[in-house]
């Protein structure tokens, strides 16, 4: 087990290297220099030069120990992302955004998983009937509506017209009140694709031979579904969940923007608007790290759920 984890961690090294290389090429080599914007309107050339020095933009790209290339790696590995355009430490910004983002995405994520898995179980029950077809059509329809429209209509009707929820993030309200509507919208928008996915998983499992055996034993459909199908289906479900978890930290770009939730998604939108490469680069790097770590955790989870998998 330990050797397995160590091996997997070593395997992560080239990936992390790759991500750093990618962010370097994207933001330093192609992205270029934003010192003029930092300096502000009508700033003198000497101020711009000074800013270039402060942000290390005047160093050579590749050559030498002090090159931007080396510094990029050094800083990322020590989680020192420097300061954003507004002089706040990037890492502080990210730390600040994680909480609200999680407050939004985690309930959304769990609600979607719980509802989608239960619905897909129900659909697996009535599989082949009109209800099943109806559910599939509704799912595909739900997937086809643009996410932006979900948000706009939700915000307009539920919050603005009917006043059921706050329209915008407000410090006067509890976090639960603030995220209620975004979570609802996120769940509504995410349900279609998820139900469809889990339905396929369930039906895949339902078609397996052991299910027939279970029926042949005289078990009720309910027992077969819950005891036999669900536990097997848990493997793809957990895979999907574990793959989604690193993204939870990122929050939701659009929901946060529309509802003013000061999370990482919002931070991202702002950074895009201001071409704040240091923030985008740091977010890319950190989310990749999360992804790699959660990949590892997923593999370990497999061994817990699936007796066939052992980590040797």
């Amino acid at each position: 087990m330990t050797t397995y984890i160590i091996r997997r961690l070593l395997y992560c090294v080239p990936i992390v290297f790759g991500v750093l290389l990618l962010t370097f090429v994207l933001f330093v080599v192609i992205g270029g220099d934003i010192s003029i914007e930092i300096a502000g309107k009508g700033a003198s050339q000497e101020t711009i030069d000074e800013i270039r020095e402060e942000y290390g933009l005047n160093e050579p790209l590749f050559l030498g120990w002090d090159s931007q290339f080396i510094n990029h790696f050094k800083n990322a590995l020590t989680f020192d992302f420097g300061r954003a355009r507004d002089r706040e430490l990037v890492i502080d910004k990210i730390k600040r955004g994680v909480g609200p983002s999680l407050a939004l995405t985690v309930p959304m994520f769990f609600a979607v998983v719980v509802i989608a898995v239960s619905l897909s179980l129900v659909i697996a029950f009535v599989h082949g009937s009109m209800w099943d077809i109806f559910a599939v059509v509704v799912c595909i329809a739900g997937m086809s509506v643009p996410f932006l429209s979900f948000i706009l209509f939700g915000q307009y009707f539920l919050a603005y017209k009917w006043g059921l929820f706050p329209i915008f993030f407000s410090s006067d309200l509890t976090m639960a009140q603030n995220v209620a509507l975004p979570v609802l919208i996120g769940v509504a928008a995410g349900l279609g694709g998820n139900v469809r996915f889990y339905r396929t998983v369930m039906l895949d499992e339902m078609g397996r031979d052991y299910v027939r055996t279970a029926f042949a034993k005289g078990l009720s459909a309910r027992r077969v579904l819950f005891k036999h199908v669900l536990k097997n289906a848990l493997i793809p479900i957990i895979t999907r969940m574990a793959m989604a978890i690193p993204f939870l930290f990122l929050g939701s770009l659009l929901l946060e923007r529309f509802f003013g939730i000061p999370g990482l998604g919002y931070l991202m939108v702002e950074a895009i608007g201001a071409r704040d490469y240091s923030v985008i680069s740091a977010m890319t790097y950190i989310s990749a790290i999360f992804f790699v770590v959660f990949n590892l955790i997923t593999d370990i989870c497999y061994s817990l759920v699936d007796p066939r998998v052992s980590l040797e």
């Binding site: 599989h127 027939r212 005289g218 078990l219 036999h228 536990k231 007796p307």
Partner: protein, 345 residues
């Protein structure tokens, strides 16, 4: 097996005491995008208590679907039992509610599947999978059910049954899995055990042991066995009665001795001749020319006629499908050229 009958005669044998299960005019269809696949058509036979009935035929001829129809486990929504009766101990299974049917499954009729490994749930221990059925049908507590399950495994010839019951299917070899399946099937002492190709994927040495185990259990419990196989050697050794299926119909049936002694249907004859037999060394094995027709493209008339030495040139064989008729006592065949076939009308 004493009677394979057509509709009219069958009514007489309704109250035959020796009959455990009788299937009449069973038709099972699959409704696919390409059209209706008639996987089982007008199949009828009956199984006597304590005896082994073999259903023989090539892959895809409808044997397994027949077995699944008896269990009422034809995969919905495409598959549907289109007609007929399946009478077990005087009750028509097709008329039972799903709830009553559940009491039949596993309890009265148990089934062993061909794919022994994938038929076991990979994420549950084998013990718990056996105990599950025991608990349900015998109304035992969990602990008692477990003890029973271990006992069953031991009876099925698994050493260290107590430990191995805690293991998962993937830790078992193929033969062992089949033993587990058998243990699970007989755990509730069913009246009928359906064994669908129980030995197909196994080594020859293990095949014999599994079949011996089935024989043994049959002797102990006095259950009937519906043996589904394509292996005529097994049929010859183990079956009391035999029905031969070809392209979703039964083409010939009789008790095994008579059938083996003198097959009437050209298909059966073909099968027999392709079987290597002791004492006939030196004779070249014959094969049946052609392939099994696709279910959606069954030929008109007798479905066997394209492959049949007689039917290929016979107009009647090409246009009218012969039905299954009793040509002598306990002996049925569906062939225009079979001796005594036309005189039965």
């Amino acid at each position: 097996m004493d009677r394979i009958t057509n509709k009219k005669r069958d009514l007489k044998s309704m109250n035959d005491n020796g009959t455990l299960l009788s299937v009449r005019d069973l038709s099972t269809h699959f409704f696919t995008e390409e059209g209706v696949v008639k996987a089982v058509q007008d199949v009828g036979f009956s199984i006597k208590r304590g005896r082994t009935f073999a259903l023989v035929g090539e892959s895809g001829c409808g044997k397994t679907v027949t077995a699944l129809s008896i269990m009422r486990l034809v995969p919905a929504p495409q598959g549907r039992i289109a007609g007929g009766e399946i009478v077990l101990e005087g009750k028509n299974l097709l008329e039972l509610s799903e709830r009553r049917m559940r009491e039949v499954r596993g309890h009265k009729i148990a089934m062993i599947f061909q794919e022994h490994r994938s038929s076991l749930n990979p994420v549950h221990t084998v013990g718990s999978q056996i105990a599950e059925a025991v608990k349900l049908h015998q109304k035992r507590s969990s602990r008692e059910a477990w003890t029973d399950a271990v006992e069953m495994l031991r009876n099925a010839g698994i050493a260290d049954a107590a430990e191995r019951a805690r293991e998962y299917p993937h830790q078992f070899s193929g033969g062992m899995c089949q033993r587990v399946m058998i243990a699970m099937a007989v755990s509730c002492e069913p009246a009928l055990l359906i064994a669908d190709e129980p030995t197909t994927a196994l080594d020859v040495t293990i095949q014999g042991r599994i079949l011996d185990l089935l024989d043994e259990l049959q002797r102990e419990n006095g259950m009937s066995i519906l043996l589904i196989t394509h292996d005529l050697g097994i049929v010859a050794q183990r079956a009391d009665d035999v029905a031969v299926m070809y392209a979703s119909r039964i083409v010939e049936s009789a008790d095994s001795q008579r059938l083996f002694a003198k097959p009437l249907h050209p298909y059966t004859q073909g099968l027999w001749e392709s079987l290597p037999r002791l004492g006939f060394s030196g004779r070249r094995l014959r094969t049946i020319p052609g392939v099994v027709p696709e279910p959606l493209r069954f030929p008109a008339g007798c479905k066997f006629h394209p492959r049949c030495p007689k039917g290929r040139s016979d107009r009647r064989c090409q246009s009218i499908e012969p039905e299954l008729r009793e040509v002598e006592a306990g002996r049925c065949v569906a062939c225009w050229h079979a001796r005594g076939y036309e005189s039965t009308l």
